[in-house]
Amino acid sequence: MKILVPVKRVIDYNVKVRIKQDCSDVDLSNTKMSINPFCEIAVEEALRLKEAGTASEVIAVCIGPKIVKEQILAALAMGADRAIRIDVEEQPEPLVIARLLAKVAEQEDAGLIMMGKQAIDSDNNQVGQMLAGIMGRPQGTFASVVKIEGDEALVTREVDGGLQTVALKLPAIVTADLRLNEPRFTKLPDIMKAKRKPIAETTAADLGVEVTSTQQQLSVAAPATRQAGIKVASVDELVDKLKNEAKVI
């Protein structure tokens, strides 16, 4: 079984977000970029399935201009066997991304598409579900445990009230939540080895997908900031403030 793992290049999760002067977007110039943390967890899970003998090959796929090779190499250094880059100038909308991934998944005859539940830049949480809908496949979102048994994936999902385990008929789409695993660290020799792994390149046109856009970002603003309040000296003072000043109890 082949596992396809989409990875996205995003702002590093430790970097403080800056807004452009003209409020058109977030300023990503001279900013450290990384693999989206949820995508990294998905790569790790795919590798563990391969190491357990469940999967035969792990293929990373990344959508973007040449610069996204940095993230492709990171996925290859973790242990993915090969990669595909879909060349686009700007990040398409989630529906287009899902259409592109669906074409690649068909071409590769992937048995499992293991991906992050959301990207930490756009926070959309859409592509996995859209991809499953387009392909008419089952979906296991917000996964904290993934097991393959026969022709089914057993996925434990983090849902509002607790946990839910679903059985999905393969091929299926699974999206990773934070507690699925802790991704491995890559060592220098792995990074050297990654540079020799194959990266195929394709385009939206090759895949027969039209890059359309129906959404537009008009502006981006900084969130309203809270003012730091006061420190109280005792529990008595706190209770008094809550009761008589804030009036919330």
Binding site: D123, T141, E158, L163
Partner: protein
């Protein structure tokens, strides 16, 4: 122009977060229907019909919708989507699962987790874990939207006279089945809609010590929350996690105990009206957003607070 609001429920009662989604729908336009998908969910439909201003309540009552699995829910909604300009749902785990799939089936985009409505095609939503707020427009013929319910007040209910109509086109895709569920049963208010939330973090120290937090929560009739660190450490279940990837809350009072205030946690609670922080580290970032900070050992302060609240409440 008409909006379809998808009800959040557990087959027996309507979740109050549905009313926040209705509030968002009312800012888009006055006319809305409610869709109830479930199994044995007649009482939910009756509750939904009382929401002020609702025109019709469509009910798909089917075995395949017992858990509102995304595959079946999205296909069922697709079969009933005609005539609606907007499809709106509260951003619960069920709807976050199903709505993007529905959007793809309809061939349109989705606007996720909106916190504001500026007309029928312009919406406000947080990005970058709430560190930036985007204003976006959509030109899609049908706008599929999930709503951050903490950003909207509950719409009025009780005076509605919606007509309840059963639909018989529920879809069973046969692609997945639920094997088991571990859903926590609690007498406490629901985290997403509670007016007071008491949360514990890594500083609480152990699963046993979390009893202190629970006791304080019960004294305040509050929902119980936790930071990711506390959940990862196994002190408490994932369903209590507040933050960027957990639940987003905005209660009247948020009490953060032993929580340092990682940016991912702040993203989930900084919309709260009043924030109280109790931490032993006076420089913890949580104090930068707290209205009232109390520095000291939570193991002494929390029982003292609980006892003193008992005498004033």
């Amino acid at each position: 122009m008409k909006t379809l609001v998808i009800a959040s429920h557990n087959n027996s009662t309507l979740s109050p977060v549905t009313l926040a989604a209705v509030s968002a729908a009312l800012k888009i336009g006055a006319s809305f229907d409610i869709f109830v998908a479930g199994k044995g969910c007649a009482t939910v439909a009756e509750e939904a019909a009382k929401i002020d201003g609702v025109s019709a309540v469509l009910v798909a009552d089917h075995d395949a919708l017992e858990y509102q699995a995304a595959e079946n829910l999205a296909a069922t909604l697709q079969a009933n989507a005609e005539g609606y300009s907007h499809i709106v749902a509260p951003a619960t785990s069920v709807m976050k699962d199903a709505l993007p799939r529905l959007a793809a089936l309809l061939g349109v985009g989705q606007i996720s987790d909106i916190t504001g409505v500026n007309g029928e095609a312009e919406f406000v939503r947080p990005i970058y874990a709430g560190n930036a707020i985007a204003t976006v427009t959509s030109s899609d013929a049908v706008k599929v939207i999930t709503v951050r319910t903490s950003a909207f007040d509950a719409a009025p209910t009780g005076a509605g006279t919606g007509a309840i109509t059963a639909v018989d086109n529920a879809v069973d895709c046969g692609l997945s089945r639920v094997v088991s569920e571990e859903i926590a049963q609690s007498e406490r208010p629901e985290l997403a809609s509670a007016s007071i939330v008491v949360s514990g973090g890594r500083g609480v120290g152990s699963e046993e010590n979390f009893a202190l937090i629970e006791k304080l929560a019960d004294r305040l009739n509050a929902a119980l929350g936790a930071s990711r660190a506390a959940v990862d450490a196994g002190f408490i279940g994932n369903d209590h996690q507040v933050g960027q990837t957990g639940k987003i809350v905005a209660p009247d009072l948020y009490v953060a105990v032993g929580i340092s205030g990682a940016i991912q946690h702040l993203a989930g609670m900084q919309g709260s009206k009043v924030i109280v922080a109790i931490n032993k580290d006076p420089d913890a970032p949580i104090y930068e957003v707290a209205d009232y900070g109390l520095v000291g050992d939570l193991h002494d302060l929390v029982p003292e607070l609980e006892a003193k609240l008992a005498s004033v409440l």
